[in-house]
Each structure stands twice: as C-alpha cells, then as structure tokens.
Amino acid sequence: MALLTAENITVDVPILSVRARSLRSLALARARAVGGQIVDTGTNVNIVRALDNVSFQLKEGDRLGLIGHNGAGKTTLIRVLAGIYTPTGGSLRVEGKLIPMFDIGLGFDEELTGNENISLRGLVMGLSPKEIAARADEIAAFSELGEYLNLPIRTYSAGMMLRLMFSIATCVRGDIVLMDEWIAVGDANFREKAQQRTLEIVGNAGVLVIASHDPDTLLRHCNIGLHLERGRVKDFGPIQEVLARAGQLQKVRRDSVS
C-alpha cells in the first residue's frame, strides 16, 4: 500500500522584488501602461521553476534520501510533501500521520521556562493538552535537564538548548517522517542518546524522507535515493547506486579509509 504518491509535482516560485511587493508601484505601473509605451517599472514578478514534474511513490518501509546541490529543490520538495507548499502543478497523495521535522527550535520563546516551552512547542506541533501532558515527563527525562526546566531558556547554554529542542522535537511518532538537514546535537554523551532516538524514529516510521548533504547519514538511514538537479529528478533508485552515480560514494569511502 502506497503511503505517499507524488505525481508530476511542479512548483513555480514567484520571486518578488521590493517593487513587486509594493501596491503603490503596481498601481502606478498600471496607470502608466495605459499610454501604450512599454516601460520597465521593475514590478514584474519573476518565476523560478523550483520543481519540474517530480514523480515517485513510497510504500511502507521505504526510507528516501534526497540528494542534490544547494538550490536543487530538496527543501522545496520536502515542504511540498509536508503540505506547506502547495504545488502549482501535479498532485500529492498522503496516507497516515505526517510529522515534519524541519526547524528544531521552532516556536521557542526565550523568556518562558523549559516546561512552558514544552507546552508551546507541543501546541505548534498540533498536540492536544492531554497529549502534551502525557509526553511531558518523557521529554523531561530524556533531556536530563532536571531543575533547569523551571528556569527561562535564555539562561540555558547552547548545548542545553539543543537537548531540550531535540527532546521535544522527537517526542512524536508518525507514519511518515520528514527530516530536513537534521543536525547533530549536544555533547558526546547526549549525542549517543540522540543517535539512538533518531534510529528509533526511523525504525518506527512507515515512511521516512531525509534531505541531507551528508552521504554517511543517507547511507545509514535510507534504502532509496532521489537525486534532484535544478528541480528535476535526475536519478531514482537504491541509495547506494544513486549516491555512486552522483559521485558521492567515493567521498564516504575516501573519508572512512583515511
């Protein structure tokens, strides 16, 4: 049973200059156009085709790694899958609960305490107060922040902040998990817990989609790869083959040998 079907997804992104964003400039441009002369008012909107006819299907157990240079369309595609960007062409079919994991520090407020931020983040993620309460203990335990959770997070060190963010962000389970450049967290101690938790999420998810530049991460977590170039699908298939064809595999082998 396909959990995620993307069919001919096309995304045209409007590039709005300052002039194009100005109602006044637009109104003046229209007024001038009556004369018949073509004048470049700078209010034209340029359109960039960020994704061009991207199609693929993912079934239960598929772990897709998105590969490509900066600007290839990985972030755009993953946001289309999350329902954040509506494709200008094509269709998307999603079955099951979808968890986007994009910004680890989303919705955090510096003045509020760790516990208050747990509630806040839970609300932003769409959890009910009951669900948040049920998870609060688990999150507190995982972060190992103890009494610090009663202090405003602006008193936290960067490492503590990451611990809290990671604990909250990973407390939900879903059928489809999307990760965009998920970062490495915390000190060596916490990093192992974080790796373990990431593996859990990956293991529990029906479908996983990861956008990453790190071939190592992709090889470890994914079984299929999608190589995007300039918004088009350049390659699709088993992750090893796609990485090899993309010239990425040598990098991993080279690094692990030296």
Binding site: R93, L112, L123
Partner: protein
C-alpha cells in the same frame, strides 16, 4: 492529512479548526503575554496601570473643555478609549501577523489562520486587563447599570468576529503587498478623529453622515453604550451585524482563494 486534499478543503479545514482547536491560538496568545511581562514587577497588570493613568488624565481634563460633567465624561471616555485601543491595535498588528510568523508558516503545519487569531486574542487579553479600569471607575462614580448592560456580551462576540475577519483580510493582503502597514496606520489615525471616542455623537451638528458611514463607530457604540446605560438604536445593531457578516464573507473568500499562496509570499 489523509488522501488527496484540495486547497479549498484545506482552507475550510483551517477555518473550522479555529473553533475546534481554539485552545491552540488562545494558549499561544496567553504565552505571548506571559513572556512579555515576565521580567516586570506587576506583570501584565502594568497594562491596567498604564491605561488607568491615561483614562484618568484625559477623562478628568478633557471633560472640562467639553463642558461635560466629569461624572458622565470620565466613564464615557474610559470605555470608548479601551474599546478603541482594542480595535486600533488589532488593525495595526494584523498587517504584520503573517509576515512575522513566516518561519512558523514554512516549518510547521499549523493552520495559517491561527497566526492571525493569536494576534487578535493577544489584544483581547490586553482589552480584558483594561476592562478592570472600567470596574475601578465604576466603583468611584457608580453610574446606573441595568440588565441592558448584558447586551455587551453579544456585542463583544460580534466585535471579536468582525475584528478577526478584518484582520484575516488585511494580513493576507499585507503578505503580498508590503507597503500597506503605513497606510493602515494613517487610516486608524483618521478613524480616531471621526469616531465618537472623545466626543459625544449627540454633539455632532453637521456631518452626521460620517457616523453613518464609519464602520468602527457602529462596533464601538454597541460595546460602549450598553455598559454606560446609553440606548442603542436598532439601526446601530443592524449595521454592526451587517458589517460582521460582510467582513466574515470577505475573509473566508480571501483565505480560501489565497491560502495556498501565503507560504510563497511570506
């Protein structure tokens, strides 16, 4: 998200969730207020203090210029002023609500309309704090309050719906056209003078048409007059209801039509 969902269904679902998931935008607004006043002595009751001071100063002084009895002018101005502040700050804040929430819009699946409601609710919480000043003024002046005053409750509901709808429309336009906020400021400044806040509508001899054409006047009067024991005409109620219905229809149209574009514009 299940199956394939069209954009119109998505927008409708968002709008429905305003009611079904109201705890989300209400809790976020409450957190915003808590955060803002966390480091202060009185906390959010600074709001009440600030408004109280202003209401008292202007109420006691301006009343003298209008030859009005302080006992009637002070409550009149206080109620008019706090209602006006609610309306004006919602109108000014909403021009930035969606733009400021850009990161949340692009990184989470929260219904986009919730960002607007968070802003309106935040201002409502401030309004509730300011309402305490009215209670304090009543304790000194004790103007008669009858059962008619209960009409303020449906009036508040109408006002909230009207402001939310207007805010949704304005914030959607402002995501696309970024030079609108100063225009809103100018409009609200103008509205302050043509709305009966510091003057009584009865005092107007010429130009009563501005009262009839000023939407804010209708919304202000249905809130203020029941509280002060002033009569509200049927025309005023009908006008307020009509304004609310029209603004809601426009907001729903704007949201359904442009929701899918907001993530690209922001």
């Amino acid at each position: 998200m299940n199956g394939s969902m069209t954009e119109s269904t998505r927008a409708k679902q968002d709008l429905r969730q305003i009611l079904t998931h109201n705890h989300v935008w209400r809790a976020l607004a409450a957190a915003d207020i808590r955060s803002k006043y966390r480091m202060s002595t009185l906390g959010s009751f600074w709001i009440t203090l600030a408004t109280g001071t202003l209401a008292l100063s202007i109420g006691l002084i301006y009343g003298q210029f209008f030859g009005q009895d302080i006992h009637s002018y002070l409550p009149y101005f206080t109620v008019s002023y706090i209602t006006w502040m609610f309306i004006a700050t919602v109108l000014n804040d909403c021009s930035n609500s969606l733009v400021a929430a850009g990161n949340l819009i692009k990184s989470s699946q929260m219904p986009i309309v919730f960002h607007v409601l968070r802003s309106v609710q935040r201002n409502f919480i401030v309004f509730a704090h300011n309402a305490v000043v009215v209670v304090l003024v009543w304790m000194f002046i004790r103007w008669p309050i009858g059962f008619d005053a209960l009409l303020v409750i449906p009036a508040m509901i109408l006002l909230f719906v009207f402001l939310t709808s207007t805010a949704i429309t304005i914030s959607v336009i402002c995501v696309r056209y970024r030079d609108i906020p100063p225009l809103i400021q100018v409009i609200t400044q103008f509205l302050f003078f043509v709305t009966p806040i510091i003057w009584y509508p009865e005092q107007l001899r010429f130009g009563s048409v501005i009262l009839a054409l000023n939407p804010i006047a209708y919304m202000l009067m249905i809130i203020r007059d029941p509280v002060l024991g002033r009569p509200v005409t049927l025309e005023t109620w009908l006008g307020a209801i009509l304004l609310t219905v029209v603004s809601t229809a426009v907001a729903m149209f704007m949201y359904r039509r442009f929701r899918s574009r907001i993530a690209y514009w922001v």
